[in-house]
């Protein structure tokens, strides 16, 4: 479990995290959704003991993040863009550095490289890898020590849809294996697809939290249904405004092509709460 209570962090006079409180349960994929500069990466750095903070409390698996021991850190797998790879070393050699450091069997390297689909490139120098391959290797490095908590900072940022899908699959598998996944993203589709619980972060403050579905339903003010008829005509029908009768009529005429409820997506919810776009 990860617990954060009223945590604040500033860089100089700028407050980058302001009174953050949240709980991440075991076996959950927890998403921190927000635009660039919202404080997502800073929060990961705080939780992994890389950054000190001024006030509040934070613990990961019961350990105070201010006093993380070597054994505590062993439970973490961290994938961040600024945690570099050894470009002159092969994928296998890169992972071996870390299995040697942690005292993990080298057998884990082959398994994790197969998991991220880099087993065919194990002996290839990392400098020759594509961006997607490097991201998968970063993920492999986070996984190779069998962590109990995975911190993933924008794990699919800038990747092609196929690689992103593969990474999502790996993340889900680790969740099934009981791992806590703490991920940051500014991609609402990723957040919707992956996360059990979401926190929307803007300018260092939590603006809303809940499951992706809960959030969308909570901000469904319009409560409309959209129907498309066979002649391509689209109609927005309010729940309480004769929608049932109109749908019945179109059905009877045999002209109904599609019917969808019109709850907002996460982007719309975020816009409503902050006036900002997620991708900004």
């Amino acid at each position: 479990m990860i617990e954060v209570t009223n945590l604040s962090k500033s860089f100089g006079t700028k407050k980058v995290l302001d009174g953050i409180s949240m709980t991440v349960r075991d076996g959950e994929i927890f998403g921190l959704l927000g635009p660039s500069g919202a404080g997502k990466t800073t929060l990961i750095r705080v939780l992994t003991g890389q950054l000190k903070f001024e006030s509040g409390e934070a613990s990961v698996m019961g350990a105070d993040v201010r006093k993380l021991s070597g054994e505590d850190k062993k439970q973490f797998g961290i994938m961040m863009d600024d945690l570099g790879l050894y470009e002159r070393l092969t994928a296998y050699q890169n992972l071996k550095v870390f299995t040697d450091i942690y005292g993990v069997s080298v057998d884990a390297i082959g398994k994790v490289l197969a998991e991220v689909k880099l087993d065919q490139d194990a002996k290839k120098e990392v400098s020759k890898f594509s961006k997607g391959m490097k991201e998968r290797l970063r993920l492999a490095r986070a996984l190779v020590t069998h962590p109990k908590v995975l911190f993933l900072d924008e794990p699919t940022s800038g990747l092609d849809p196929q690689t992103a899908k593969e990474i999502h699959e790996i993340i889900r598998n680790r969740k099934e294996a009981g791992c806590i996944i703490f991920l940051t993203t500014h991609n609402m589709t990723e957040a919707e697809k992956l996360c059990d619980h979401l926190v929307l972060l803007n300018e260092g403050k939590i603006v809303e939290s809940g499951s992706p579905r809960e959030l969308c339903l909570r901000y469904d003010h319009q409560k409309r249904i959209e129907i498309t008829t066979t002649d391509g005509e689209k109609e927005q029908l309010p729940f309480a405004g004769g929608a049932v009768e109109r749908i019945e009529q179109v059905l009877k005429e045999g002209r109904l092509l599609t019917i969808h409820s019109q709850e907002p997506n996460l982007e719309t919810v975020f816009m409503e709460l902050t006036g900002r776009k997620l991708e900004a």
Binding site: T48, L51, K73, K74, Y86, R88, V97, I101, Y102
Partner: protein, 232 residues
């Protein structure tokens, strides 16, 4: 200790493919061997080139390689990855430092043996080189810690290396330079190498060497306190 061993092993693999660092370990031994065998002037002191280039080797190779390794790791974010994997700064510096010392000692051993040095004199030479390498390694580490990236490290290491390596050589031809050069550890090592094992080490030499070692260690500690290995 496991962490330091992992860093050491990583460095052994990495340097094989890192020409910029590799050349630092090979260049001076190679020049020494070539010059010693190719140029033979009458009445030239024994092991003239070996002693001359050894001083340049101990002033250049450890400083440039140590600072290059640390600053590259900082720039590329691999040092952060290591620190996040619970590698302590001491383990990291120990791993890189031991590697650097071993590589430099291998070069010194090869060049001295190929140049025909042996016996007691050879052991004395290696002992002196090891002490010199250690001082330079701490200086290189201080530069690596201070510099934010490789370019900044180069701008610090080049003047340091030039002063330390060229002053003893220029001092042979210019008395004024010699008066300044004697306050640097490289000049003292040059004198000690020239005097040989049976030469007497003056109190002044001992004091200058001790002061140099203390100053370099102090610079390293200050640099580490100011910047740390991976501070935000």
């Amino acid at each position: 200790m496991r962490e330091a061993k992992a860093i050491l092993q990583k460095q052994m693999i990495d340097t094989r493919k890192n020409r910029a660092v590799l050349i630092q370990f090979i260049l001076f031994p190679l020049i020494t061997i070539v010059m010693s065998n190719a140029v033979n002037i009458q009445d030239m002191p024994e092991h003239f080139y070996l002693k001359l280039f050894s001083v340049m080797y101990l002033a250049m190779a450890p400083i440039s390689s140590m600072s290059a390794i640390i600053s590259e790791e900082k720039e590329k974010g691999t040092l952060r990855a290591l620190m996040m994997s619970n590698v302590s700064p001491v383990s990291y510096l120990l791993g890189v430092g031991i590697y650097d010392l071993a590589a430099c000692m291998l070069g010194a051993t090869l060049m001295s043996r190929i140049c025909g040095m042996n016996g007691e004199e050879w052991r004395y030479y290696l002992a002196l080189m090891a002490i010199g390498f250690l001082i330079s390694i701490f200086l290189g580490a201080a530069i690596g810690v201070l510099a934010k990236n490789q370019m900044a490290a180069t701008s610090l290491q080049v003047p340091a290396m030039c002063i330390l390596s060229f002053l003893p050589m220029i001092g042979q031809f210019n008395d004024t330079v010699a008066k300044v050069a004697k306050y640097f550890y490289t000049e003292q090592f040059y004198q000690l190498l020239n005097n040989g094992i049976h030469g007497k080490m003056s109190t002044e030499s001992m004091v200058i060497l001790a002061c140099n070692a203390i100053i370099v260690l102090g610079v390293f500690i200050l640099a580490y306190k100011k910047r740390g290995l991976n501070r935000e």
